[in-house]
C-alpha cells in the first residue's frame, strides 16, 4: 500500500467516523449538542480534506481547508450569538435605543 | 461508474429532495433552505459536467467552473434578500405564514 492510498483510506475512515457523529445532530437534545456535532464534523471534514489533498497532490486544497477552518469558527459564533439572543432576556444586547 | 457520473446522479437526487421540501414545508425559511438545496443540486450537476469536460491538462472545463462561482454568489444574494423579507414580515405581522388569511386586498393605492 502506497502512501497516497493509505491517506485516501484514512480520509474515508475519518469522514465516515465523524459522519457517525452526525447522529447527534439528529438526536440533539440541546442545540449546543447539535452545534458540537457540527464542530466535530467540521474538524473531521478539514482533516479528510487535507488527507485527500495531500494524497492527490492538489495543493489548492490547503487553501480550501484554511478558509473552512477560519469560517467554521465564524458559523459557530453566529450560532452562539443567536442561541443567547433567542432567549430574549440577555441584558447585554439591546435593540434600538 | 466514474466520479462525474456519480456526482451527477447525486445532483439530480438533491434536486428531487429540494423540490419535495419546497412543496411540503410551509415555513418560509424552510422553503428558502429547500431552494438552496435545489440550487446546490443544479450547481453540482454543472460541476459534474465541467469535470467531464476535463481536457488539455485542466482538471475541468473552466467556463462552467467560473459560472458556478457567479451562481453561488447570486444564490447567496437571493437567500439574503429572502431572509430579510421573512424577518421584516415577522416584525410586522408577528407570524411568517404565507397563506393569505383574508381575501387579499390592496392596502394602498
Amino acid at each position: 500500500m502506497t502512501i497516497p492510498d493509505f491517506l485516501l483510506a484514512a480520509a474515508v475512515f475519518v469522514l465516515a467516523t465523524v459522519a457517525l457523529g452526525l447522529v447527534r445532530i439528529l438526536r440533539g437534545p440541546e442545540d449546543a449538542d447539535r452545534m458540537m456535532a457540527t464542530q466535530l464534523f467540521g474538524t473531521g471534514g478539514i482533516a479528510a480534506l487535507l488527507l485527500l489533498g495531500v494524497a492527490t497532490e492538489a495543493r489548492a486544497v490547503l487553501d480550501v481547508a484554511l478558509t473552512l477552518a477560519l469560517l467554521a469558527a465564524f458559523a459557530s459564533v453566529a450560532f452562539v450569538r443567536s442561541a443567547s439572543s433567542s432567549e430574549g432576556d440577555d441584558p447585554k444586547e439591546t435593540n434600538s435605543p | 461508474m466514474n466520479t462525474p457520473t456519480l456526482f451527477g446522479l447525486c445532483a439530480v437526487a438533491l434536486v428531487g429532495v429540494g423540490l419535495y421540501g419546497l412543496i411540503v414545508n410551509p415555513q418560509p425559511l424552510r422553503k428558502i433552505l429547500a431552494f438552496n438545496l435545489i440550487g446546490s443540486g443544479v450547481f453540482l450537476l454543472f460541476g459534474a459536467i465541467a469535470r467531464r469536460g476535463a481536457a488539455v491538462g485542466m482538471g475541468g472545463d473552466p467556463v462552467p467552473q467560473a459560472l458556478l462561482i457567479t451562481g453561488i454568489v447570486v444564490a447567496f444574494s437571493a437567500t439574503a434578500l429572502a431572509v430579510a423579507l421573512v424577518l421584516r414580515l415577522f416584525d410586522e405581522a408577528g407570524s411568517v405564514t404565507l397563506a393569505p388569511d383574508a381575501p387579499a386586498e390592496p392596502p394602498d393605492a
Partner: protein, 97 residues
C-alpha cells in the same frame, strides 16, 4: 530516510483517525452536554493535530507546511473559543430551563 518519514506519517495519521473515532464515540455515548463538550474539544484538536503532523513530511516545505500548521492553529483557536461560548450557553440552558 523516506521510509522513516512514511512510517511516521502512517503512525501519526492513524493516531489522528483514532482520536476522531474516540471523539465520535464520546459525542454519542457521554451522558450530558457538558461532558460531551469536554471530551469533544480534546478529541478533535488532537485528531486534527496528529493528522497535520503526519502530513507535514509529505507536504512541500516551507509554504504548505506553514499552511498546514496554520490550519491546525485556526481549528484550535476556534475550538477553544467556541467551546467556551458553548459551555456558557449550555450552562445557561441548564440553569434556566
Amino acid at each position: 530516510m523516506s521510509l522513516v518519514l512514511d512510517i511516521f506519517t502512517i503512525v501519526a495519521v492513524s493516531a489522528g483517525a483514532f482520536f476522531f473515532l474516540a471523539g465520535t464515540v464520546g459525542l454519542l455515548r457521554f451522558p450530558d452536554t457538558l461532558t460531551r463538550l469536554h471530551a469533544l474539544t480534546k478529541a478533535d484538536n488532537l485528531g486534527l493535530g496528529l493528522v497535520v503532523m503526519g502530513l507535514l513530511p509529505q507536504a512541500e516545505w516551507p509554504f504548505d507546511s506553514i499552511k498546514l500548521i496554520a490550519i491546525w492553529l485556526f481549528a484550535l483557536l476556534a475550538g477553544a473559543t467556541v467551546g467556551q461560548l458553548m459551555a456558557r450557553a449550555a450552562r445557561r440552558e441548564q440553569t434556566t430551563p
